[in-house]
Symmetry: C2
């Protein structure tokens, strides 16, 4: 059975030493005192380790079963779900006006990481609900909000997002699902949606589907798509689940991973739906959901890396094999723990330095979301818009890679189901695909976000990096180990951006062919910045004679690994970008 | 159902345009005329595509079943196995003195790639037999060879290798399986072996286990291990399977992939075994098997990439989604094929340029094996010894990466079982682990092979690269696109090797911490050399007014992609190596 240790100490370090949340000028952050966040994180860690993690491997083995139109989730899921509801976790950062606890999004991210590390497939049921809730909150009428939000926040109803159809995923302009207005102001929804996570299950009394569909005579393409609320059971006058709606789960996908989450074919046969937001503006409303979901998926990616790393480390400490090249480390045993071997350490340091950097990036991104929404800061809004595809694409690619590295640490044991590592790999794999493949993220980054408003957001990012370097370059230790590498990596990123400006104007393919590498280049610079900020915080804590110097020294050592061995990847990504589109586009389609 | 197209045209290019086999000064190569190899490859391609590939997905879904000590392979496997036997494929490169066809190892590699692409789990049954056969051939007595080889070559008996035990995989010095001499000159073998591929199955009349065990009073560690032939059924006086031996399959592993191959726990309870080779020299004998197996595993890695790429390409041509940035490509359809998008092409070119380079590397390595064994060339022997860990480690890491990239091309479809890509990922994953994890390969490379005989082999490699560059630098097109990048990459490799010499002497960890990156650096230089050689061959063919210029132009374009976008990775690997062991070894074990 895989282990899971909630990383609450590292989270506290990020919240209080690095982000210094309780002093931040963001409404609501003053509540985030050290003791308060410690209590919340401890509780979330406890339910993660004791309730959710033990269900992860059995849930994978059992999967979901569709019988007579109903989906049965794995044994123990309903009990665990009820415990999560009872703990109030589903409304942690939701609007108090509808029963939420009104905590910052940042706290939701910290707690969410633990839930996802412990059991990704389980957490998706509430994750989708969260996205649907946010969309209704942002675009619903007062009546819709009053009808749906309290039930979703308390967790008795869940939510889904219905975008994909067999002929379209990325290109939603091809959607065929139809909506016909009815006399009572509602609509009849007809069509088939596929890959609907949590589309049907036995955890809640009702499921609120948000469905993209076309009205008759709507403009072609994405400008003619509307969004509808289509409940499984139509709420009656008292708001209780009433008449069964004309929708059904037509099948479950057989998948590589996340077996315990039901991925449904959903058939809508004239189902009653209610317009959410304006006619033909469905894509815009859906983007509320998608942006939040993309950050959530980035978190899933690195969170699978976190738990995979913990298990790899555990194995490396226990497994005795061979002797250290520099002298026996375990003379009383038949061999040394494999942790003594430099190549095993390289592998573990690679994992560790990524996941701690990724956590910092996700936390910082969440702080930006709070700053944008709670402090109405348009610069924070623009910056998180720019960083969202990086968080999604980079953290999932590297999160998956981390699970593969962790699996490798176990050798043959990593390939067997018994040790659980292979499940982390299979589950993490989807994060690079859903909510827009990582290729699509890179196009969003380079094709849309980079040039928006004359590139203001990316220039603000560069200013932020420069400002941090300037402010701290008097510190000699920080300078050579952290600031100089960051400066060099950031210069690579700027050079790449300038290349796109100069060469993309001649031929858009020059920018598009480099988009994926740009996303990774950007991700490395972000993690480099995170490590520089963490190193600064650790230096300060050590100078202040911290009670726990070992933690901060480890933090510095881990950061040095990232700067020395991971950050130099920026030069490779730049070289690829600067090679342009020629070698990428040279072949005729027939000649591949 | 996934497709599989035997890449016979590319194989013929390698054999005849690049390696020019029929003119090579290697005994037996004169038979490899163009028409002859075409006929063999076509036949192997046919059985791969028509018999083996259709069993791959069903075999994965069914897996193997253990009942009452017997293992049932998936439906259709026995029929397919009998067809392979009838075709004489199992003895293709085996000694004619025992019924083999005596073809070069190189031809076995070409044919083997197709079998593995079509159905890796199936091919393992005969792959293990091949390794066991080679070991008996190299170390057996005349009587042993006469007893076992004809049956194994015709495929009526199969073979296995039994190394791993619960407490040891890499560190075979910890083996506990015991061998007690009996009065008749045989031995009683007692112990438990795990992860024994094809340890029990229903495809053959007998299974010949090669088992590592210790004699009483044997020296400690790997110097006290002997190798034994332990047949499932003891051959009777006529050489037919007679008495059932005291060994049994105690269980099957539940694994991430290769479900159709039985991975067995094997229990030996005083089973009768026969010494193979000398007492206490088992490791040396086993290395015959392991070296061959390592090259075979490298082949498995890229072969899974080959079939994954073909399916990704097929999808990219059919799937309509979005429009090309440079103008509509498919005006009559609702959208353009996704192959028009630069990021999809980048992904496919990455796959294509790797697998064609990898195939060239595997073929070249196989030619070196033939040169070493058939022409008794000690330089070829030393060079392939050096390259074996690179072929195994680099081609499997990158082969797995290729399956992941191919899966990504399909978006959500890649995650579903229906399209088959996720199986290629799961099956390819084991290749990075078995026959020595890739970390172990990198240690073999840096810790043993690099410095052997004063580094003669690696110097011969550098001479070979320099010689090729010098010979061709008059060709301007080759020079800028191929030779200059190769020269630069090769220089990175030399710098890394020098770093190990200088810094490894101060502290062995400085070399060991860079071993993995060195293996990748070396792999890239090898593929760079392969692409330069292929480019040369393509240029010559085009100058000679080939009947098929499109093939050669595509080859050049694909090579340019590799040189421009993959080969620059050498600088990153060098930077990591030169950062030394400090950041890798900084943490105390307790502080991870």
């Amino acid at each position: 059975m895989p282990i899971y240790n909630p990383p609450t100490e590292d989270m506290q370090f990020l919240l209080h030493d690095v982000l210094q949340v309780s002093a931040a000028d963001i409404p609501g952050y003053d509540e985030l005192e050290r003791d308060f966040t410690a209590a919340v994180l401890d509780e979330a860690g406890k339910i993660s380790a004791e309730v959710l993690a033990p269900l992860n491997a059995p849930g994978d083995a059992q999967g979901c079963i569709l019988e007579n139109g109903a989906v049965r989730t794995p044994e123990g899921f309903k009990d665990a779900y009820d415990q999560m509801r009872a703990g109030g976790w589903m409304g942690l950062d939701a609007d108090p006006a509808y029963g939420g606890q009104g905590m910052p999004y940042l706290l939701g991210t910290a707690v969410g990481e633990m839930f996802v590390s412990a059991n990704m497939a389980f957490n998706m049921y509430q994750g989708l609900t969260h996205g649907a809730m946010s969309t209704i909150h942002a675009h619903g009428t007062d009546a819709q909000k009053a009808m749906y939000l309290p039930k979703m926040i308390e967790g008795s109803w869940s939510g889904t997002m219905n975008l994909t159809e067999p002929q379209c995923g990325t290109d939603l302009g091809l959607i065929r699902t139809r909506a016909e207005p009815k006399d009572d102001g509602s609509y009849a929804i007809t069509g088939t949606k596929i890959w609907i996570s949590a589309g049907e299950h036995d955890l809640t009394d009702n499921i609120i589907h948000l469905v993209l569909a076309r009205l008759r005579g709507a403009p072609e393409g994405t400008k003619g798509i509307s969004l509808f609320i289509v409940p499984k059971f139509l709420p009656d006058d008292d708001g209780a689940p009433g008449t069964r709606n004309a929708l059904s789960c037509g099948g479950l996908e057989s998948k590589m991973g996340i077996h315990a989450n039901a991925t449904c074919v959903m058939n809508y046969d004239g189902a009653t739906g209610f317009l959410l937001g304006q006619e033909h503006k469905g894509m815009r409303a859906m983007f509320t959901m998608m942006n939040e979901a993309r950050i959530g998926v980035g978190l899933q990616g690195y969170a699978q890396g976190v738990v995979a790393y913990q298990n790899a480390l555990d194995f490396a400490r226990e497994r005795l094999q061979g002797r250290a090249a520099t002298g026996t480390a375990n003379p009383d045993g038949p061999a040394d723990p494999i942790l003594v071997h430099p190549d095993v350490r390289r592998n573990l340091m690679h994992q560790k330095s990524f996941i701690e950097g990724a956590r910092a990036f996700a936390f910082w991104g969440s702080e930006l979301i709070d700053r944008a929404h709670r402090a109405d800061d348009p610069q924070a809004e623009a910056l998180i818009g720019l960083l969202t595809p990086v968080i999604k694409g980079f953290l999932t690619d590297k999160g998956f890679e981390t699970t593969v590295l962790a699996q490798q640490t176990l050798g043959g044991s990593g390939f067997t189901r018994q040790w659980g590592l292979e499940q982390f790999v299979r589950d993490a794999r989807i994060t690079m695909i859903y909510e827009g493949t990582n290729g699509i993220q890179s196009l969003d980054l380079v094709g849309r976000k980079l040039g928006q408003n004359g590139g203001q957001a990316v220039m603000a990012f560069f200013d932020l990096v420069k400002g941090f370097i300037k402010e701290n370059e008097g510190d000699a230790a920080l300078k050579s180990d952290f600031l100089d590498p960051l400066k060099s990596a950031s210069k690579d990123l700027q050079t790449a951006a300038m290349y796109f400006v100069a060469e993309g104007a001649k031929n858009p393919n020059n920018a598009l062919a480099g988009s994926y590498d740009f996303m990774h280049l950007f991700g490395h610079v972000c993690l480099g910045l995170m490590w520089a900020r963490m190193a600064k915080a650790a230096t300060v804590a050590l100078a202040e004679d911290s009670a726990n110097p070992g933690f901060y020294e480890t933090k510095l050592a881990t950061g040095r690994y990232y700067m020395a061995r991971q950050l130099p990847a920026t030069a490779l990504h730049l070289a690829r970008i600067q090679s342009g589109a020629d070698s990428v586009m040279a072949l005729e389609a027939a000649n591949f």
